[in-house]
Amino acid sequence: MLRSTRPGRTVAALAASAAALLAFSACASGSAAGDDGGDVTIDYAIWDQNQQPAMEEIAAAFTEEHPNVTIDIQLTPYKEYFTKLQTAVSGGAGPDVFWMNGPNFQLYASNGVLAPLDDEGIAASDYPQGLIDLYTYDGSLYGAPKDFDTVALWYNTELFDAAGVEYPSADWTWDDLKAAAAKLTDPAAGVYGIAATQYGQENYYDSIAQAGGEVVSADGTETGYGSPEALEGITLWTDLIEAGSSPTAQQMTDTSAEDFFLSGKAAMFQNGSWAAVAYAENPDIAEKVNVAPLAAGPEGNQSVIHGIGNVANAKSDELEIAKEFAAFASGEQAAKIQAETGTVIPAFNGTQQAWVDALPQYDLQVYIDALETAVPYPVSKNTAAWNAIESEILSQVWAGTLTPEDGLAQLADEMQAALDAESE
């Protein structure tokens, strides 16, 4: 560790982890009282400040039903959330209920950190199948889907009008996308048709599914990068860069790809449903953009679906109440509270319309429609291990220093080795 050589950081790191432990344990100790009768405090760890008001409302609604239960919400910024959580859980102290995401889920579920929620009356049919799959491990549901995000194609109407290109429509194919991107590109003005970033969820996870491939097999044991379909999904983006329709990987490292879109230098940009609120509040582009379904590849226009899950700590002192609250915070009443705030799409089927209606100026329905064909976010037991390999090798492919063929062959090998190590 840095400890030996970099004292300044050590102190900071120590202080940070000590603070984290204190924060988690201090609250855990509050929930010592028994199930029946006595007052109970449940710690609920979340990472998004924007959603805190909605979470507080949900907590209040739960307390109304269970007057002896107090929900104590703990906000940790996402950057430190999982580091802290892991430290706290390792030390035997952790929040009773907490937010979970796809890449981290199986690591926690497979190590016995999470309690199964099978007995909490959660009906799989109430949620998008992709989310139920995401939070199911070894046949048990460990996470109650709280919200979801899908991906769609944002476009700048001003640039489309100027270039005389028709707006993207639901029947667009990859060829339409490429042709439009080429036409929209204007080197003299520094305008590109699209920003073909090296983003998984927003770009190549979707295109690989659209080509009929997969990043990782459903059971998380086999890499899908060795397939010709995966190659097709990746070359969609590298071809766009090579054709000059997108800024190069170098340019998009220097200046973030989204900044190209926000400053009117890229006409199209695929982004998740979380972008809607941000774009609506950005006076530079709020009036100039709209959103369309993704363009279809050989096998359709699938979008990856991802969402947060509410999970219960298997070591919670108040396990029964913790499980009940995890289910409640993802239930219909909680979903309605979230929808009204407009920040995220609630996962509970039938409550999503409020989110669509919150920003009527955009065709946000496309994000809900994407559910029909959505594919689960690719994860395995130790997603982080191969995510690192993926990001490093693909950065060479995007930069053009490795051909997509060689890059994917290497990625498939190294990722498979990481997956094999997981199952040992």
């Binding site: 560790m1 690591l107 170098q250 130790n382 995007w398």
Partner: protein, 331 residues
Amino acid sequence: MTDLIAQRTAAPIAELDGGRPGDAAPRPRRRGDGPGRTGRGPRQSGWWALLFIGPTAVGLLAFYLWPTVRTLILSFTESGPFGGTTFVGFDNYVALLQDPELLGALRNTAVYTLITLVGIPIAVAIAALLNTTGLRGRGVYRTLYFIPVVTMPAAIALVWRMIYNGDYGVLNEVLGVVGIEGRSWLTDPGTALVAIAVVGIWAGLGTSIVIFLAGLQGIPDTLMEAADLDGAGPIRKFFSITIPMLSPSIFFVSVIGVIGALQVFDLVYMMLGRNNPAMPNTRTIVYLFYEAGFLDNQRGYAAAIAFLLLLIILVLTVVQFRLQKKWVHYE
């Protein structure tokens, strides 16, 4: 930033060097006086010493020594994601030496360190100019050169990222005026490491200059006057008097500089970022450590990297101390 350490350590060692002759004097006197008068002298002064040393010693033990020992222990273990460590002997070290990324990281770190050493002659030259008698606005210049030292590293990284930006950067703008076509400095594998080293030099100049200025002001005027009488010109005086007299400061700055450069992390982390295509050519040892410890969650492996770095620093520093006998002049 790397120079924070230099800054922190600069004072005590500089005092040690300069203050040695003065310090030696009072000590025998006290030793002789004490026992003769009260008989309790030594014990009393022992308590006093403890009182003064105590707070620092506790801090050192708790925050430097203990973590170092723990890191050493950690480097011989492998831990699960949620605790549960198992002793694995030298496995981490064996795996580390076989890691293909280690060689690249060692090379990148070495290149970075060598480049930043260029900062020493630059700092000597600037300090010598600032020390010129009759220079107007000397304080202003000194402040200007010192500003980067007290600036937040994150802010420095952010500003330099903008300067180096391939599309909208000031650097390419300026180069364009003189007809040179710029490039994407921070993402080109050929330039990224040099670009970062330039920022490292720039950010560290202030500290070095302050140390050199102190060294320059310690050179007796009589030497310069004697040289004048002998008819030595300014250049001759600089190389025959200033440089040798300044050599203890130069030695100090180079030791601290090398240690700091070997530990470079923040610039790589903040100016390049994870998906940077130039990463294989810029990944330093501490960045490798960061990836292992914080991204891949292999704490034991990361501890082994940290210890390897400690070993490298130790060896290089010992070599530097050996070599100093050949070129450093103490009065």
